[in-house]
C-alpha cells in the first residue's frame, strides 16, 4: 500500500464515562471501563497499530485524537442514543485541530460494553442509518471495536443495511479475541481475518504499575487479619474480579507466554484456595493457546492429592504449576517436588502465580517463582508471638476456604485499620478551616481515603448497614452539598444501591426551625414513604448531622438513621443525635475522641 498516509489523523471516539449509566436503561450492562480508559501510560499509537493489523500502513506518527462523546439524558431509545452520539461526535470532530491533516480513520470504541445482537441492531441503526453519511464520508476507514464481532455479523439491521447498499464506507469490526470482519459497501459477503494480540497489548495499558494499582485499589478487597494454614495475612483481593479485566488478562497472558517460551506441550497443575480463579485461568489458557500447544489442565479434588499423570515428562515438554497468591509456598511446594520426583526426561518445571507477597520465597525447591504482581505487603508467621497483627490484637479470622475472606470483624474499622488507611493515603490534614469557618487542628480528607480504599470501604459500609438495619432499604440519602463529603456520599450511594441523593446547601439547613416545617417556597424533596439515610463524611461536633436530621423532620420524615465515615463525638453527644431521630441508629465507621487521642499529643 502506498506510503501516503504519514501524518494522517485518527479519531478515536468513545462514550463518555459519565454517561455509561444512561445506557443501563436500554439494556447495556455495566462496562469494562477500567481497562479502556485513557491513562498516562496507555499508548495512543497502539490504536494505529490496531488499524494496521487490518492491512493498512498508517504511520505510528499519526496523530490520534481521543474524543469522549456524550449520550444525552433525553435519548428515547438506544438507536436514538447512538444517533445523538454521532451528532455530538461530528460536532466535536469538525472543530479544526491545531495540527494534523483531515482525519482519515474513525475508530468507534464499543469495547467497554457487554452487548448482544439485538443491542447491536439498535446501535447500528443509530450509527449508520440515521443521516450521518456526510460525516462518515470524510474518513478513509471506519473501524468498530467490539467484544464480539459475531454480534455485528448476525445483526439483521446491519446486514440489511449492507445488502441495501446503505453503508457509505467499508466498515471493519474487530474484537478482543482478535477476530476481524470487513463489511463492504458494495454488499458483497464480509471478509474475515484474524489479527495478532500485539496491538491490544499497547492499547490496553499493561504497564506493571497500572496492573498493580488495578489489584490494590480497584479490586474488591477485604482488609483485616486472616489466618491461613501457614501464615497470617492482612489483605484479600478478589482475584476473580481482577483477572476478568481485559488489560489484566492481557498482561498475565503476556507473562505466561514468556514463561512457556517455545514449549509445544504443557502440563498445567492448578493449586490454591481460589479454585474458581485458577480454573478460569486454566480454561482461558487452554482456549487461547490450545490450538498451538497441547495443554492438559488438572486441579486436585477437594482434600485429595494433586493429579499428576505418571511419567508426565514423557508426554509433556514442560510442567507449570499455576496458583493464585503465593505466601510461604507451602501449598505449592509439595506439587513441585512430586513433579521433580517423576521427571525422568528432565523437563522444565515452572511456577506461575497471579500474585506474591513481598517476603514470599523467590524459589521453591529450586524452581523460580514467576508472579504477575508483587503485593507490597508481607505475610506474617502464624505464631502469635511473631505475628505483628496478633500483637496489636487485630481480630483474627481463620480461613479454610476462599469465601471465609469475605468477612468484617466486630469492631472494624479498628484504629489500625483507620490510621493505616489515613497514613497510606496521606489523608490527615492539619490546621484547616472547615465549612463552618472553624479552625481545626486535624481533619481527615475523605476524598483521598475513598480514592484509594473505595472497594474495601464499600464492603465495610454494606456490612455495617446490614448489621445495623437488617432487612431495611434506603430510598434516599440526605446530605450536605459540599465537595469535601461528596466522594463518601457517592460511595455510600453505590454501596447501598441507592437511587436518589438529596444534597442540601448550608443556607437551606440553617433556615429550618424546630416547629415551622420547611421554609416557605421550598419544595419538599422527600416522599412520605421514603426511607432516608442521613450521610456525612465526618462528625467533629455533629452540627451538620443535627441540621440534616432537623431538615428531614421539617419535611415530615424521620430518617431511618445516619452513617458517617468517622466521628469525634463521645457517647453522650451521639445519644443526643439519635434521640433527635427517635433513637434510630447513628453509625460511624470509626470513632476517635476530640481530646485525649494520641494524635493530639
Amino acid at each position: 500500500m502506498p506510503n501516503d498516509f504519514i501524518g494522517a489523523g485518527i479519531v478515536l471516539a468513545s462514550v463518555a464515562h459519565s454517561d455509561y449509566e444512561r445506557l443501563i436503561k436500554f439494556g447495556i450492562p455495566e462496562s469494562e471501563r477500567l481497562s479502556w480508559r485513557q491513562t498516562e501510560t496507555r499508548e495512543s499509537a497502539g490504536f494505529v497499530s490496531l488499524v494496521n493489523e487490518l492491512g493498512y500502513e498508517y504511520s505510528t506518527e499519526s496523530e490520534v485524537q481521543e474524543l469522549y462523546v456524550g449520550i444525552p439524558e433525553e435519548s428515547t431509545n438506544l438507536a436514538d442514543a447512538f444517533s445523538r452520539f454521532m451528532t455530538n461526535l461530528a460536532r466535536d470532530t469538525n472543530r479544526p485541530p491545531d495540527s494534523v491533516n483531515r482525519p482519515q480513520v474513525l475508530i468507534l470504541n464499543l469495547m467497554p460494553f457487554y452487548l448482544s445482537v439485538t443491542l447491536l441492531d439498535k446501535i447500528a441503526r443509530g450509527i449508520f442509518l440515521k443521516d450521518h453519511d456526510e460525516f462518515l464520508r470524510q474518513f478513509e476507514t471506519i473501524v468498530v471495536l467490539l467484544r464480539n464481532i459475531d454480534w455485528l455479523l448476525k445483526s439483521k439491521v446491519f446486514s440489511d443495511a449492507t445488502q441495501q447498499g446503505k453503508l457509505v464506507k467499508d466498515v471493519w469490526a474487530l474484537d478482543i479475541r482478535c477476530f476481524a470482519a470487513k463489511f463492504h459497501r458494495d454488499s458483497s459477503a464480509p471478509r474475515q481475518i484474524m489479527v495478532t494480540r500485539n496491538a491490544f497489548r499497547a492499547v490496553l495499558d499493561t504497564d506493571i504499575n497500572r496492573i498493580y494499582r488495578s489489584l490494590i485499589f480497584e479490586t474488591n478487597s477485604y482488609i483485616g487479619h486472616f489466618g491461613l494454614p501457614s501464615s497470617h495475612v492482612r489483605t484479600h483481593y478478589d482475584l476473580s474480579e481482577f483477572i476478568k479485566r481485559d488489560n489484566v488478562w492481557e498482561y498475565l497472558l503476556q507473562c505466561f507466554e514468556e514463561l512457556i517460551d517455545n514449549a509445544d506441550s504443557l502440563l498445567l497443575i492448578g493449586i490454591g484456595m481460589e479454585r474458581g480463579v485458577i480454573q478460569k485461568m486454566g480454561d482461558q489458557l487452554m482456549s487461547l493457546l490450545g490450538e498451538r500447544i497441547t495443554i492438559i489442565f488438572r486441579q486436585p479434588d477437594i482434600d485429595s492429592e494433586p493429579v499428576i499423570p505418571p511419567n508426565w515428562s514423557v508426554n509433556f515438554h514442560m510442567a507449570i504449576v499455576v496458583t493464585d497468591i503465593i505466601c510461604t509456598g507451602t501449598t505449592v511446594d509439595p506439587c513441585i517436588q512430586q513433579l521433580q520426583n517423576d521427571n525422568k526426561q528432565n523437563r522444565l518445571i515452572k511456577i506461575f502465580a497471579i500474585a506474591s507477597m513481598q517476603n514470599s520465597p523467590p524459589m521453591l525447591s529450586r524452581v523460580p517463582v514467576r508472579a504477575g504482581v508483587q503485593i507490597r505487603r508481607k505475610f506474617y508467621s502464624p505464631n502469635p508471638d511473631e505475628c505483628h497483627l496478633c500483637k496489636i490484637a487485630q481480630p483474627l479470622r481463620e480461613v479454610k476456604k476462599a469465601g471465609d475472606f469475605c468477612y468484617l470483624a466486630q469492631g472494624q474499622l479498628t484504629p489500625f485499620d483507620f490510621w493505616e488507611m489515613v497514613t497510606d493515603a496521606h489523608a490527615l490534614e492539619r490546621d484547616v478551616t472547615d465549612a463552618h469557618g472553624r479552625q481545626l487542628a486535624y481533619r481527615i480528607n475523605t476524598q483521598k481515603l475513598v480514592d484509594r480504599y473505595a472497594r474495601w470501604l464499600e464492603n465495610v459500609i454494606k456490612s455495617r448497614f446490614v448489621g445495623t438495619w437488617p432487612g431495611s432499604k434506603v430510598d434516599v440519602i440526605c446530605t450536605v452539598n459540599e465537595p469535601t463529603g461528596a466522594a463518601f456520599t457517592e460511595l455510600v450511594k453505590k454501596s447501598l444501591s441507592v437511587s436518589r441523593v438529596v444534597k442540601l446547601g448550608r443556607e437551606q439547613l440553617v433556615r429550618c426551625t424546630s416547629t415551622g416545617g420547611l421554609p416557605d417556597g421550598v419544595k419538599n424533596p422527600f416522599k412520605p414513604s421514603d426511607h432516608i439515610l442521613v450521610v456525612d463524611d465526618g462528625m467533629n461536633t455533629g452540627n451538620t448531622v443535627s441540621q440534616l436530621i432537623k431538615y428531614c423532620k421539617a419535611a415530615g420524615n424521620i430518617p431511618i438513621g445516619g452513617l458517617v465515615l468517622d466521628s469525634r463525638l463521645d457517647e453522650t453527644e451521639m445519644r443526643v443525635l439519635t434521640a433527635k431521630m427517635s433513637r434510630n441508629r447513628l453509625v460511624a465507621l470509626y470513632t476517635w475522641p476530640r481530646t485525649g487521642h494520641p494524635i493530639d499529643s
Binding site: 443501563i24 455495566e30 431509545n77 448482544s116 439485538t118 454480534w151 482456549s287 477437594i302
Partner: protein, 371 residues
Amino acid sequence: MSSTLIHVEPERSGFFGLTQLEAFTRLKIEPSIKAMSGSTVTMDFSTVRIWDIAALLWLTVALDHYRRNAGISYILRLPQGSDQMSSGDRDAFDRSADYLRRWRFDRALQNIEADVSKLLVSDQHDYFDPGEPRRFYLAKKVQEEPSGLLQSLISRRLAEIRDLSDPSFTGKTPISAQRITQCVREFQAERIGDILAAQCKIEKRKADLFSDHLLTEALLNVQEHPNASIGMVAISLMGNTKELVLSVVDNGDSIPQTIFERYVQDLGDDDRRVIGQKYDRDTMTRDQRAEIAHYATMKGVTRKKGAVAENAGMGLTYIKQDSVATFGGKLTIVTDKVRMIYKEDPDHNPDVVDWPHPWRGNLLRISIPLG
C-alpha cells in the same frame, strides 16, 4: 390446623422435568385447591433423583402463585440420602440434594419466603446449610458429565440460580434493568465460551456465542415482559443426555400478551377482523395462543416504521435461530398454557402441546448438545 401430603411422581428413573411438573400441578394440586384451604400441605419431592433446572425454576413460579394467589399454605420435603438406603440410592439422593444446594435453590425460594427454612419440613430446616464436610460432591464421583465441564461451572459459581429481582426492593415489580444487565455482565465477563472450548472442544467462536449471544438475549428478553416480580436464570448440565441447559423464567405478562398489539397491527392490514381484538388467554384456543407466541420468534416481525419498528426486538428470533441452527439444540417455550418446542429446523413450526398453568409467566429452556 390439619395437614395434607401430596407426593410428586417423577419418572421411573427419578427424573423430574417439565412434563412431571405439569402432571403434578394438574393432577395433584389443582383438583384439590379448595380442599387445601385451611390446611398445611406438605409437597413431597423426596423421590426426585434428577432435576431439570427449567422445571425447578418454573416450579418456583408455581409455588409463588399458589402462595400468593391461591392462598395455599405449604411446606416442602426435598430429596435427601439416609443411612437406611442402599449405597446406590444414597448416592443418588445425596447427589440430588447436592445439586439443589449447588444451584442455590434456596435463592429461588427466597422469592416466596425470605426465611427459606419456613418453607421446609422441620427436619430439613438446615437443608441449605449442612455441616462440612459434605458427603457428596467430589468431582471424581461425577461419572457421566463431559470431563471437567461441571467442575468448571461449579468452581466459578456459574451453575447457581441467579435472581433478577432486587432482594432489597419493597414493592410490586422489583425486576430491574440494572439487575438484568448486571447478570449479563457477570456471565459475559466469565468467558463461558472458553470453558466450552477448553472442556468440550467446541470451536471457540461458536462456544462464545453461548454466553455472548444466547444467554444474553434470553436475559434481555425478560425486560419485554412487564409486571414481573420474579425472574430467574440458571445454566445446568444434563449428564445423562450430555446437554448444556440454559433456562430463564419470569412471572410477568406472557409472550402472546406482550406481542399481541403488534401482531394485530401487522395482521390487520390483511385481516380486518383482528382489529380491535383483545388478548384473553382463557378464551383463545391453544392454536391461537401458540400462533401468537410463534409470531414473536419470526424474522422481520413487524412491518411498521419509526420508533415502533426501532424498538421491536428480535431477541426470540435470534435465540431460536441459533439454538437450533447453530448449536443443533432445542428451544422450549412455555407461556400461556402452551409448550412449544423448536428443533432441527428453526424455520419450521414448533411442536405444540398443552401445558396448562394457572399462573402467569414465561419459561425459556435452551438445550444444546455437547457431543
